[in-house]
Point group: C2
Chain length 437, copies 2
């Protein structure tokens, strides 16, 4: 009770590293660092691994490079590489220099693969056997490996030839319960699915989800096994990507959370708000074209948010579905045209349904049949425009090799605002000329 | 070549069941059924498991209940239960009656758990040992189990007492390489994490993601083990939920895809478009309150989409982040207030930045300082309203025990439209009265 810092550490001690990281991230840097330093090394190491990218460099400052190297010996090479990647280059170099040569070699090997590839997310915790061993020898080798705490998951064991090339896979179960004099090459499965070290991690995540793999070996161009990607890691990427899509659509960069400090949030959101402002001016200019029409017929104004808002909502429905399908890899080449056709039919039908209601209200509220017809027609046209934009914006972004979700809702509402105002006010101006209001 | 149906089957034969399901779902019912019937039983069974919920009942019609029962013997009890759950009750009853008694018992057991709970997603493919066995006996039992193809993953083996209560867990590795005369109770880990059979699947998915579990045993209230939830299954739920959030936000119910037949899509989207229409009328009525102001000062109209659009975009940024954090379970009680404060600060700062630009443009474009000031002030106020609505709408929906994402973007844009129009036109009307335009 007399030492507040100590009593705090006691309170953190029983927590899981993931919870500890959550709690530390909410503290001021000084306090968080002091707790990290007082934790037992296993716990500090595990907590560092769990910290978010944006807070890690700051909190890792609690330790000298030599201390960090000591901590990293308690986590695997893959976690070490992930962690070092997020530290400043100078720190990274010093930590690598302080690691034992074999560990440093493994970590350096992993650091050379781009973060977004199979190589960037693979683990080095796997076991290989030679195909010319017999089952008895394989069991002995496995027994030796089992002493190392580093190897967690041995459900599948990889079989290589003399050149380290992957030639098969053996479930641990088979290895345990087959006769000892049989050759590994006789009991192994030869049809092994694999990933290439350069495969994109998002494509890989989709593969895991689609085929329900539990893990995949990662090979280099020569067919040599370099590592293993586990389903949990791949699926966490898929999940992260799905929430990122939600954020990208509305113009948010990076992993932002509700409690991210507001100083960081301003820099992330304001640029997109400025982009949105620029596009909003295009909509404003469209209205500006018809200022004289509006001056003659003020009743038009109340319909502007209805026409634009309905287009925006319908377009967002289409956009969300197309982005989701693209993310899940469910849109094959040629499907774009089919999706466009389907969404256009849907836009037409929904447009007619909504248009009739809007037209009727326009007529009853403002007492003008012409206004009702103009509103209904503009609604149908804008729903169609929304459907087309909802399909073409994400497909276009992808064709430009950008993320299909990127700021797509901003582009979409620009289209639905501009098109909606143009159709509605343009028809109204024509009606004014031909029939009078 | 003479029989087109046969040549088609040859083409489908080498495909993975997941790909087969994708392809069949795009065919007409008759053709898809004919291919399903011609596939080898293992492949038909695996393909049925992969079919989407909406097409399954239709395509399963290829088989009689007795044939379906034959096919289900090739998949596990969990997959059988999932599949039967989606078939009409009469078919389900007939298939269960045609299953062998032990299989029917397992499946019936699973069917009684609600689909959204741990019980609804658990697998029965696990192995238990008694704590009073020795390691030698345990190995013999495991050897017997290993003959059954049904048990795929034996990385962890569960240890129960005489009353089937879970008391520990043993990694397969330990069981293989420890001395045969040691007792299971001596080598097991006693600190076992678990899920309760009634646990909500989404909460469970968050737990898997947070703690990186590979699997969790599922217990009943008495601590007896009923099944096992695997990380891959839990994470697929998390992923599905994330994409569902995207869809719910814009008013889409159910799992809709870009190529879902348009007849189904109309029924799903039109109701929400009508909800949006109702809310858009509220915005229209707000403008209607100021028709005489607009009649006097038409230049105001071009600013309406700018004020409303900026509010909508900023509000969507806030909303997306809050919904994401709620989905990931990262908003603890009490955090709502902190998030509200942070977002308000952000709304104020971003509002000032955007407001200054809009004000300047208003002044330069329309040559009226008053208009510039009014636009800038309304922008600041609407950005603040957007921030507050972005936090309170999802938290409010949750408090009402609804999904925080449900149609939230529709509610949000209603707030930002109504507030934006009211602030802007209200300030303009006041300015008109005091200063003239």
């Amino acid at each position: 009770m007399s030492d507040p810092a100590l009593s705090t550490v006691d309170e953190y001690l029983p927590l899981h590293a993931a919870d500890l990281a959550d709690r530390l991230q909410r503290l001021e840097t000084g306090e968080a660092r002091s707790i990290l330093k007082q934790l037992p090394p296993e716990k500090s190491a595990a907590t560092l691994v769990e910290l978010e990218e944006e807070r890690l460099p700051d909190l890792a400052g609690a330790f000298t490079p030599a201390e960090l190297a000591q901590l990293l010996r308690r986590v695997g090479a893959a976690d070490s590489a992930d962690l070092l990647q997020r530290l400043p280059p100078a720190t990274r170099r010093d930590v690598l220099a302080a690691l034992p040569p074999d560990a440093a070699h493994d970590v350096r090997g992993l650091l050379k693969y781009p973060e977004e590839t199979a190589g960037g997310i693979m683990s080095l915790r796997f076991i290989t056997l030679r195909d010319d061993m017999n089952v008895e020898q394989a069991r002995a080798l496995l027994g030796a490996h089992a002493q190392q705490e580093r190897i967690e998951d041995v459900s599948y064991i990889y079989v290589t030839d003399a050149g380290q090339r992957l030639v098969g896979i053996v479930p641990l179960r088979d290895l345990i319960f087959r006769r000892g004099d049989r050759r590994v090459s006789e009991i192994m499965h030869r049809d092994v699915k694999f990933a290439l070290v350069s495969d994109d991690q998002e494509a890989l995540a989709r593969k895991f989800e689609h085929y329900h793999y539990l893990g995949l070996p990662v090979l280099d161009e020569g067919g040599r096994i370099l590592g293993v990607v586990k389903a949990v890691d791949a699926l966490e990427i898929a999940r992260k990507e799905a929430t990122e899509d939600m954020q990208l659509m509305v113009g948010l960069s990076g992993e932002e959370r509700a409690l991210t400090p507001w100083r960081m949030s301003v820099g992330r959101r304001l640029p997109w708000l400025m982009v949105n402002l620029a596009t909003a001016f295009v909509a404003a200019l469209t209205i500006g074209l018809f200022e004289s029409t509006i001056a003659q017929w003020t009743a038009l104004v109340v319909f502007l948010p209805i026409i634009a808002g309905q287009g925006g909502n319908a377009g967002m429905q289409t956009l969300t579905i197309v982005i989701r399908d693209l993310a899940l890899g469910e849109i094959a080449p040629g499907d774009g045209r089919r999706a466009l056709l389907k969404e256009s039919i849907l836009g037409l039908i929904n447009g007619l349904a909504v248009g009739v209601v809007v037209g009727a209200i326009g007529w009853l509220w403002k007492g003008s049949v012409v206004l009702g017809v103009v509103a209904a027609a503009a609604m149908v046209m804008n729903q169609l425009a929304a459907a087309v934009a909802g399909v073409l914006i994400p497909l276009g972004l992808r064709a430009l090799r950008m993320d299909p979700a990127l700021a797509s809702s901003i582009f979409l509402t620009t289209v639905t605002d501009v098109a909606g105002f143009f159709f509605f006010l343009g028809l109204a101006a024509a009606a004014l000329r031909w029939y009078g209001a």
